[in-house]
């Protein structure tokens, strides 16, 4: 079925051979409606011209403040949302390329098992009326991917792999703690043998001591199953720990993309600099009282963003051009991209590294 999809279109090309997913100019607008006839009076631009790529086997982090559109991008990629515009080129195991954004109806089905999502809240994402086994195996049943015997075998093996006893499969989710439920959610995401897993704030709802267990588990599973992660989080220290490359978003736009260490030590966008300076460091000697960058004002409303660069009203380096012209995402070399008119000229401070 997949070959039919690709053959019916002009052959798609990606920029590099090792790319698994390439998102180009992705847009997702939600209409704002009013009145009994639901007249559309405007759009919330949740994702506005988002471009980045994910290489096979790496972990890409997607960070930003709440409401910046990180979750929308993640949900577009797993096609929980239909994007308004843009392409999401996905490389299949056989090397052919498909645009996930163009697929309709039953054509998407084969990709549902390749692209999986782990949700933030382990308390609301599992169906309380289904046993653990039913929760995990539902996707196999619905997509007719395995016989009942295979299903049992796979679920049991996975439960053991994520650190739960396989006898637990007949219990209901209420019998488990938050960390255990997140392990079940991870098993549910991995049961179809996916290639790309979108982790949407997968550890944010967990206690600090449990968070480390789950982060380690995700890293082990990545090595075992050759997974690629898109890791969505607002927690910069978690992102720093787990990600190879990081995408920073602000009000629906990508402002900076770079390797982990590069982004933290040498940010090229003023928003990234402000974000880094706001992170509290767990060491009283590194106390930053007074040296932190204060972002004035509020995050703009994505249905009514400012002109030019969306960050200019809060940016301390803003000049005239910033309010009139939107800076494009430019390549600064060595996998470092930033959307700022003065990316090369500014000397911004990153996080000081401790050996």
């Amino acid at each position: 079925m997949t070959s039919q999809v690709t053959l019916s279109q002009a052959p798609l090309q990606m920029k590099a051979d090792d790319t698994l997913l390439e998102v180009n100019n992705l847009k997702k607008y939600f209409p704002i409606t009013q009145g009994i006839f639901s007249q559309v009076k405007g759009y919330t631009k949740a994702a506005d011209d988002v471009s980045f790529f994910i290489r096979q086997g790496e972990t890409v982090g997607l960070v930003g403040e709440s409401g910046c559109g990180k979750t929308t991008v993640g949900r577009c990629i797993v096609r929980a949302y239909m994007p308004t515009a843009g392409e999401m080129l996905y490389r299949l195991a056989d090397g052919s390329v498909v645009d996930l954004g163009k697929l309709q109806g039953k054509d998407i089905r084969p990709f549902r098992k390749d692209l999986r999502l782990i949700f933030q809240d382990p308390y609301s994402s599992l169906n309380p009326r289904m046993t653990v086994f039913e929760n995990i195996s539902e996707v196999l049943k619905v997509n007719k991917l395995a016989t009942p015997a295979e299903m049992r075998e796979r679920v049991e093996a996975l439960l053991e792999r994520v650190g739960l006893r396989s006898e637990y499969k007949q219990r209901y989710p209420h019998a488990f703690s938050g960390g255990e439920r997140q392990r079940i959610s991870i098993a549910r995401a991995l049961v179809t043998k996916p290639r790309l897993v979108v982790c949407d704030e997968a550890v944010s709802a967990l206690d600090v001591s449990i968070r480390a267990q789950i982060l380690n588990l995700l890293e082990e599973l990545q090595a075992d199953f050759n997974l690629t992660y898109l890791f969505i989080s607002h927690d910069l220290s978690v992102i720093r720990h787990i990600c190879n490359r990081i995408v920073v978003m602000y009000v629906g736009k990508v402002v900076e993309v770079a390797n982990g260490l590069e982004l933290y030590t040498n940010p090229c966008h003023p928003y990234t600099e402000a974000l880094m300076s706001a992170v509290p460091i767990p060491n009283p000697q590194a106390r930053k009282a007074g040296t932190r960058i204060h972002l004035e004002g509020e995050i703009p409303d994505p249905s009514n963003p400012p002109s030019g660069c969306y960050f200019h009203p809060r940016c301390r380096y803003a000049q005239d051009i910033c309010s009139s012209e939107a800076p494009p995402l430019r390549n600064l070399g060595e996998d470092h991209f930033a959307a700022c008119h003065f990316a090369e000229k500014l000397d911004l401070n990153g996080v000081r590294m401790v050996a």
């Binding site: 001591s209 982060l215 910069l236 220290s237 009283p284 509020e298």
Partner: protein, 227 residues
């Protein structure tokens, strides 16, 4: 439905003998103090019209109504984004100086603790297991739980290959383990930890810890001293 102003003024009128007009002026003053722009307009807004950061500022204003000597802040920044969190923390430190008040800051975020606290008390399962000044807790922790907690958090400034989590999970408080409540998860636990509940041991002027490892040490020292 109450406006922001209504909710703050309620406290003002209840605790001070002043007119409504004065209460309103005082509220506007307070809102300005906590950094709310255009307080004379915002006082008549409903809370849902404000952003998370602004709402938290309004809450702080409400707490400051009667010039408190002590402010208990229960996870005041946990629901906020890092950039907003940074602003609120700086605001709280400023207000603390202005009002000369003590602050009990309850949080699970060790980064925030390091940023704001003078002294730290670490709790586990209903007990304070270690107290000291912030520097000691972060740089020379003594209780195995504090040590494990600090090892388990990812740090932005250091790249490590693997995190070192605390094994197991927090027990159900109804089925509290006997002896030291931390012993089932403790890497340094002794056989005695299952039965003996540790008491506070002083390790310095300011430093107390509830752990048998140090109690033994002290009694050993005491024994040596006596002999």
């Amino acid at each position: 439905m109450y406006t922001v102003g209504n909710q703050i003024m309620e406290n003002v009128v209840l605790h001070n003998r002043i007119s409504k007009k004065e209460a309103r002026d005082l509220t506007i003053d307070l809102l300005a103090k906590v950094g709310i722009p255009k307080p004379d307009r915002l006082i008549d807004e409903y809370p849902f019209r404000l952003s998370g950061g602004m709402r938290q500022r309004a809450m702080i204003a409400m707490a400051l109504v009667c010039n408190p000597n002590m402010l208990i802040a229960d996870e005041p920044t946990t629901a906020l984004d890092v950039t907003t969190q940074a602003n609120i923390l700086d605001l709280m430190v400023n207000l603390q100086e202005q009002y000369n008040m003590a602050m009990l800051f309850i949080t699970h975020d060790l980064g925030v603790v390091a940023e704001i606290a003078d002294d730290v008390a670490v709790m586990y399962l209903g007990k304070i297991v270690e107290t000291s000044d912030a520097n000691t807790v972060f740089n020379a922790p003594k209780h195995p739980y504090t040590q494990a907690l600090l090892r388990s958090i990812p740090k932005i400034s250091i790249r490590r290959e693997e995190l070192d989590p605390i094994q197991g999970m927090v027990p159900n408080p109804y089925r509290r383990p006997g002896g030291c409540p931390f012993h089932p998860r403790c890497v340094q636990s002794l056989p005695e930890c299952k039965t003996i509940t540790p008491t506070n041991t002083r390790l310095g002027d300011h430093h107390t810890v509830q752990c048998l490892l140090y109690e033994n040490l002290e009694s050993q020292k005491a024994a040596e001293y006596i002999s």
